[in-house]
């Protein structure tokens, strides 16, 4: 059962990663999708409160992830650090101006981080119980 859970979470992460490609594909080939994304991106960008809330949540998750991965060093926590690095690099290197689907890609990467965090916390709990 536990292996099934790990496989399922990693599978979801792969789907999230593939979705980044799909966002690009949809955005650059489907008019309706592109117009909707443009509209909702602007709506989101205009809502400063919501943007700060999202940033706060991301930051909190990152801090929690770093703390957890530092506490329990194993393969999954190493992967967690890598995904965090990916998210940070994305945040720094890209912006809404350069990437129209910025929020969608950010969402996908963030989901990968959260799933990895879930994995690490599950593994930590398991080890704590076994001790």
């Amino acid at each position: 059962m536990k292996y099934f859970g790990y496989i399922l979470i990693h599978l979801l992460q792969v789907i999230s990663a593939v979705s980044i490609y799909e966002w690009y594909e949809l955005y650059y080939n489907h008019l309706g999708f592109m117009r909707n994304v443009s509209y909702y991106t602007q709506e989101l960008a205009a809502n400063r409160g919501l943007v700060w809330l999202i940033r706060g949540v991301i930051l909190a998750i990152l801090v929690l992830s770093l703390w957890l991965s530092n506490r329990k060093r194993h393969k999954e926590s190493g992967l967690l650090l890598l995904t965090i690095l990916g998210l940070v690099v994305w945040q720094v290197a890209f912006s809404l101006k350069t990437t129209p689907i910025y929020y969608l890609v950010q969402g996908s990467i963030f989901l990968i981080v959260v799933l990895q965090l879930l994995l690490v916390s599950l593994q930590s709990n398991k080890k704590a119980v076994s001790k």
Binding site: Y28, N29, H30, L31, G32, M34, R35, Y39
Partner: protein
């Protein structure tokens, strides 16, 4: 006993055959055509695949344009030999309220494809509205010879003409050959322009080609347009079933229907060929199709109100009294109101 069984089987077969014949007969009966394939005039806009094939063969200057949004994913899979891809984003942007960009910008987009004022062009698409949108811009710029392939790529393939894959690199042109736009009268760009046009001609007919649900304010038709309604004074030009089609104007195979019947429904709303008529939709795609169909039918004074509901709604949010909105059926006073 055996005879009875055979009678039952034969009876069922005969009934099935009768139903198939009736169904196919009805389907064929519903298919009518605007384009007279045996008599295409030089003034026509919609043309057949055979005409295009002949045109490309006889006039080497002809440029065939595949019009669609994006980087031409489907175009690269199969296109008419020699056709170049044109992204609809070359002539419109969100920053411009999805309105057609300034004439000089649009002219540059056509020059990139090697198109000048005197270049005969044939536009096609899997979406008739995309083809009409690009063709409209070419017409507005003043191109001498603008055609749309009736039925798009499907019609080409149905005629058993070959297609090619990949990308065709266009040979750029540098001089458009005339001041642009060459036909400024065909376009009413923004809501402010529409108000000015209405002041100039109070009898101008503002014809919505949107679906009935959009027209009566039951839906905006677009998730990126919040508000529902129509510009005050609009009448309904039955054309669309949803915000993404012109189902009442085209056959199932994408070719343009004989519009005689639809014109009869438009007449009830005062949309007639003798009047100055401005067609609009959400952002100017569907209306471009209605524009060319009416032009081909000989309507002299038709225009495209490009801003459409998207632009009008934005203007209404800023100045409701200058840009009033109607909601409901104008023919039903109890369910009709003006917001100003």
């Amino acid at each position: 006993m055996h005879t009875k069984k055979w009678m039952a089987v034969l009876g069922s077969l005969a009934l099935s055959l009768f139903m198939i014949v009736t169904f196919v007969g009805n389907a064929n009966a519903a298919t009518t055509h605007l384009v007279d394939k045996n008599n295409i005039q030089s003034t026509d806009f919609f043309v057949t695949a055979k005409w295009v094939k002949n045109q490309v063969k006889t006039d080497k200057k002809t440029i065939v344009i595949e019009a669609s949004y994006g980087n031409g994913k489907d175009y690269k899979k199969a296109h008419i030999p020699g056709a170049v891809h044109m992204d609809t984003m070359a002539i419109e942007t969100e920053a411009n309220n999805w309105n057609i960009l300034p004439a000089k910008t649009c002219a540059k987009a056509f020059l990139k494809l090697g198109v000048t004022k005197t270049t005969p062009i044939v536009v096609y698409s899997s979406d008739i509205n995309a083809a009409s949108r690009i063709a409209f811009v070419a017409y507005w710029l003043g191109l001498d010879n603008v055609k749309i392939l009736d039925g798009g790529l499907k019609a080409w393939q149905k005629a058993d003409y070959k297609t090619t894959k990949g990308n065709v690199k266009a040979t750029k042109a540098t001089d458009f050959g005339a001041a642009v736009p060459g036909r400024p009268e065909s376009l009413i760009s923004t809501s402010a322009d529409l108000v000015a046009a209405k002041k100039k001609n109070p009898d101008l007919v503002l014809a919505s080609v949107r679906s009935w649900k959009e027209f009566t304010g039951k839906t905006s038709g677009y998730s990126y347009i919040k508000d529902k309604g129509e510009p005050s004074g609009a009448v309904w030009a039955k054309s669309s079933k949803t915000s993404a089609d012109v189902a009442y104007l085209v056959n199932k195979d994408g070719t343009v229907k004989d519009p005689t019947k639809i014109y009869a429904t438009w007449k009830k709303w005062g949309i007639t060929p003798d009047k100055e008529v401005a067609f609009y939709c959400g952002t100017g795609w569907r209306a471009a199709t209605a524009f060319f169909i009416t032009k081909q039918s000989g309507w002299k004074n038709v225009k495209l109100f490009d801003g459409g509901w998207y632009d009008w709604d934005k203007a209404h949010q800023k100045n409701a009294s200058e840009y009033p909105v109607q909601v409901g059926n104008p023919h039903d006073a109890d369910n009709f109101k003006i917001k100003d």
